[in-house]
């Protein structure tokens, strides 16, 4: 018996509610459904919604709130002598209790007090669960009964149902906003906690990145340093390499497809580029690490260059391949939306096709192409798996593409993968990096979308 089963029960009750409501309406009309205000199925739907919606709502709220209340009750019920003093110890003890209650290993030998707390935790959890079951089923039944009691010959069931459904539609469309708010809030809250430990400007302008914080305060290098400039530089280097690959190839492909290719060629080339876009990034990462990096290393050795096995070049090249389709499909759209009259004018003056493209179409499409490039850059900055697998962890502040660099996304992954306590500066640093990443990509997107839209309006 768990929450999924409870959801099934509620759905079952709703289905029953539908049947009840329908039957009730037919009964109210004494079998002659024409005298009802709405079709019988609307009465059924009304009862089903009245039964299911409040119950599901209660279930969701309960599932979210119950853990917090149980945690609080367990921790406040602890013996004052072992009461943790600070927030870190508090969360550690809580984790211990949780682990113990699910039968996992704990960070230290469980004292009798902890075992007692675990038992209390389990007891509270099961009380909470069963009261949730009772509460949800009660609410569902009450809702069903209430909705059924509303049904009469003149009850406007269709209007009521449509009102509810319309409200649901609005709620669904708000989820996008809620997601953005959720992202911003979670990033900002964790970042504020991070900046309480590491000064803001040290993070943004420091040139030394080594996030290893020591376990004991007296160890050497006890405080990690969080200067993110090497990461920003590494990200920019890799992005630059990627754009050097994707920019020309993507743009030229787009031009060829829009201006030269016959429909048959287009019909093959366009899906092919889409396939390139559809390959998961982890596959590109594997390709970069296993095939491209050794290849570049081999070539480098051939001409006497010292190439690191996790060079920025390998990661950048493969990332460039990945974003070719973005550049090409966006530019393709832009070029296609340049009015034919401009081309005709240029041909009429005797220009060849390539002259028309270079002197008329590209300048006319430039804002859109810039927008496409900006979107591609934002994609490259946020790309994770390729760099995680091919770019390495060494935070070198270098512009040499043959050396290993690290990027913002790589560091986020390294800082957060594996077991971490959630309150160390190390983990929080990942959120600060995430915040930077979010705002940089957001800025690029907003600018790019605005540029593209403005450009469209000009010609539409």
């Amino acid at each position: 018996m768990n929450s999924f089963f409870l959801i099934l029960v509620v759905i079952g009750l709703s289905v029953a509610g539908y049947a009840v409501g329908r039957a009730r309406s037919v009964f109210a009309a004494a079998g002659d459904v024409r005298i009802l205000h709405s079709l019988p199925s609307y009465y059924g739907m009304f009862v089903a919604l009245g039964c299911g919606l409040p119950a599901i709502l209660l279930l969701a709220i309960w599932l979210i709130i119950q853990p917090q209340i149980v945690d609080h009750m367990v921790m406040s019920g602890l013996d004052p002598s072992i009461m943790p003093q600070n927030a870190d110890a508090y969360s550690l003890m809580l984790t211990d209790i949780r682990n113990l209650s699910s039968g996992n290993a704990t960070s230290r030998e469980a004292s009798p007090a902890i075992v007692a707390a675990t038992e209390r935790y389990l007891a509270l959890q099961s009380i909470g669960f069963w009261s949730m079951v009772v509460g949800v089923v009660c609410i569902a039944m009450l809702g069903l009964a209430w909705a059924r009691s509303q049904i009469s010959r003149n009850f406007r069931a269709r209007n009521a149902v449509e009102k509810i459904i319309r409200a649901l539609l609005i709620v669904c469309s708000m989820i996008a906003i809620l997601t953005t708010v959720g992202i911003v809030l979670s990033l900002i809250f964790e970042s504020i906690r991070f900046f309480a430990r590491v000064p803001f400007f040290d993070f943004l302008f420091g040139i030394h990145w080594s996030p290893q914080t020591a376990i004991r305060a007296e160890q050497v290098g006890a405080s990690g340093s969080f200067g993110a400039v090497p990461l920003f530089a590494g990200t920019m280097l890799i992005t630059l390499i990627a754009m050097l690959v994707a920019g020309p190839i993507g743009l030229l492909s787009a031009i060829y497809m829009a201006e030269y290719a016959n429909p048959k060629f287009r019909g093959i080339a366009k899906p092919m580029l889409e396939v390139l876009a559809g390959i998961p990034t982890v596959v590109y990462g594997f390709f970069a690490a296993l095939t491209v990096a050794p290849m570049i290393r081999g070539w480098g050795e051939g001409v006497g260059l010292d190439v690191s096995s996790e060079s920025a070049l390998a990661a950048g090249l493969v990332m460039g391949i990945m974003i070719i389709p973005f550049v090409s499909s966006l530019s393709d759209d832009v070029i296609n939306s340049v009015p034919q009259s401009l081309r005709d004018g240029s041909y009429g003056l005797g220009a060849t096709k390539s002259e028309t493209i270079r002197h008329v179409i590209i300048p006319a499409a430039l804002p859109g192409i810039v927008g496409a490039f900006l979107l591609a850059v934002s994609r490259a900055i946020g790309e994770t798996m390729i760099v995680v697998m091919a770019a390495g962890l060494a935070s070198n502040l270098t512009a040499n593409p043959f050396e290993a660099v690290t990027t913002v996304t790589v560091q986020i992954v390294t800082l957060l993968v594996g077991d971490q306590e959630f309150d160390s500066a190390k983990t929080l640093a990942a959120f600060a990096l995430g915040l930077v990443l979010f705002f940089v990509t957001l800025g690029l997107n907003v600018v790019a979308l605005r540029v593209v839209r403005k450009y469209r309006e000009k010609y539409d």
């Binding site: 469309s173 996008a176 979670s186 060829y256 998961p280 596959v283 060849t352 994770t384």
Partner: protein
């Protein structure tokens, strides 16, 4: 009127185009060059695609085969059932590993030194004992018999069979020593080495031993995650699209929602992972590594894709249909649910499948919420710890054993096969139901 008189003042020269053949030739050459650049870049992209797929298939196809060694195994009662009780519990807890080792020694009587023995034990998979145990439990009458059986080889021997071990290298640089090569060649010349289709790769979950590792756990995890993603993102996405396209008034608020959706579509996926970690795991206290949370994160990520696709599908339904339905007395919601939505459904489904394909290939946000744990069991439910196929690929790509390289490639081939299948489905749907109004 023919006004042929040129009003050119004396002293000013008229620039006339020099229509010499040479200049024209230059311009045409430039034209051809430009055209070639374009063609060249498309061909480059195509070649890279072929190279990528080729290199992965080239390293991966061998993972579908597994080497087996034919050994004479005697099911010695001394190991299995010394008391002769025939009790299944006794049979289940017997020392099968020891039995396999003894049989290996019996098969190679010439091996005597401790070091050589250890090398010999490395010939078969460490898990060979488990397979024999299953056999004996299924058929207890095997005890006391002696049979020629095909035993799964270890990853080193498997690599040797597949030709990944370079025999010309110095012994210290090889995973397989000279003595082992001699034994191997002896087995091979007696037809005791065979490659078979590697069914374990498809029916087992992850393992530290490459020859035991399979993708079933990861595939199941992906499936569970996608179910959650679909259940959340499809209804929410379609409903949001219906509201925005059919009901929303044109105002600031609607604009804000639209801008938001467009921006969310371009937010890096890893940021959604951070959201999942901070919100779902730390704030709401959902379980780590669970397909439930993974599915929720991916649902938020694919939501913009589905909303945008659904909106354009809804937009493509001509207004005349809405007007006709309204004219017959349908309510606005009935217009949508009875007429517009069914007509837009193929487009919506196509967009949804493409969104699901994206979600299936996504790795980074799932790393953030802990779906990267080493999990040897096939997950049985939405809250069990699980991993997904792309994460499995990432994990295997990090493993040092040579045998994991081919398994990684093979797992990629399986992932790509799923993606190709989904995309073909989307294309077919579009082709079959596409309507031009």
């Amino acid at each position: 009127m023919t006004d042929a008189t040129m009003n050119s003042k004396p002293g000013t020269e008229i620039r006339r185009p020099t229509l010499t053949g040479e200049r024209l030739k230059k311009r045409y050459a430039a034209e051809r060059r430009f055209r070639l650049y374009g063609l060249g870049s498309i061909l480059t992209a195509g070649l890279i695609l072929v190279f990528l797929v080729g290199s992965i298939t080239g390293t991966g196809y061998t993972a579908f085969l597994q080497t087996y060694i034919k050994l004479n195994i005697s099911f010695d009662p001394e190991f299995l059932d010394p008391a002769g009780t025939g009790d299944v519990a006794q049979l289940a807890s017997a020392d099968y590993g020891g039995m396999v080792k003894k049989n290996l020694r019996d098969n190679f009587p010439e091996v005597t030194s401790r070091r050589d023995k250890r090398k010999l034990y490395n010939f078969v998979s460490p898990n060979a004992g488990f397979d024999l145990r299953t056999m004996v439990i299924d058929d207890p009458s095997l005890v006391g018999q002696s049979l020629d059986l095909w035993i799964k080889a270890s990853d080193d021997i498997d690599m040797l069979t597949k030709g990944y071990v370079d025999r010309t290298l110095e012994e210290s640089n090889r995973r397989v020593s000279d003595t082992e090569l001699v034994w191997y060649d002896k087995l091979d010349s007696n037809d005791r080495i065979e490659s078979r289709f590697n069914t374990d790769f498809f029916v087992k979950a992850d393992s530290r031993e490459p020859e035991e590792a399979g993708i079933l756990g990861a595939v199941t995890g992906s499936l569970l995650t996608l179910v959650i993603t679909l259940l959340l993102s499809f209804p929410i996405g379609v409903m949001a699209a219906i509201y925005l396209e059919e009901f929303a008034p044109k105002n600031k608020w609607t604009d804000l929602i639209e801008v938001n959706i467009n921006n969310l579509a371009a937010v890096p996926s890893i940021v959604f992972g951070l959201l999942g970690l901070a919100m779902f795991l730390n704030f709401f206290g959902f379980p780590r590594s669970a397909p439930l949370v993974g599915g929720m994160v991916l649902a938020l990520m694919t939501l913009p894709t589905i909303i945008i696709a659904s909106r354009s599908a809804l937009k493509a339904v001509p207004p005349s249909i809405r007007e006709a339905a309204l004219g017959l007395g349908a309510s606005p919601l009935q217009v949508v649910t009875h007429h517009v939505l069914p007509l837009a459904m193929p487009g919506i489904l196509t967009g949804t499948i493409i969104g699901m394909a994206q979600a299936l290939g996504e790795t980074a946000p799932l790393l953030m919420i802990g779906m990267i744990a080493f999990i040897v069991d096939v997950p049985g439910g939405f809250t069990d710890p699980a991993t997904v196929l792309p994460v499995q690929i990432y994990l295997w790509a990090d493993s040092p054993e040579r045998a994991f390289v081919e398994r990684t490639s093979a797992a990629i081939m399986v992932l790509l096969a799923f993606l190709i299948f989904m995309n073909i489905l989307a294309v077919m749907l579009r082709k079959k139901f596409e309507r031009r109004w």
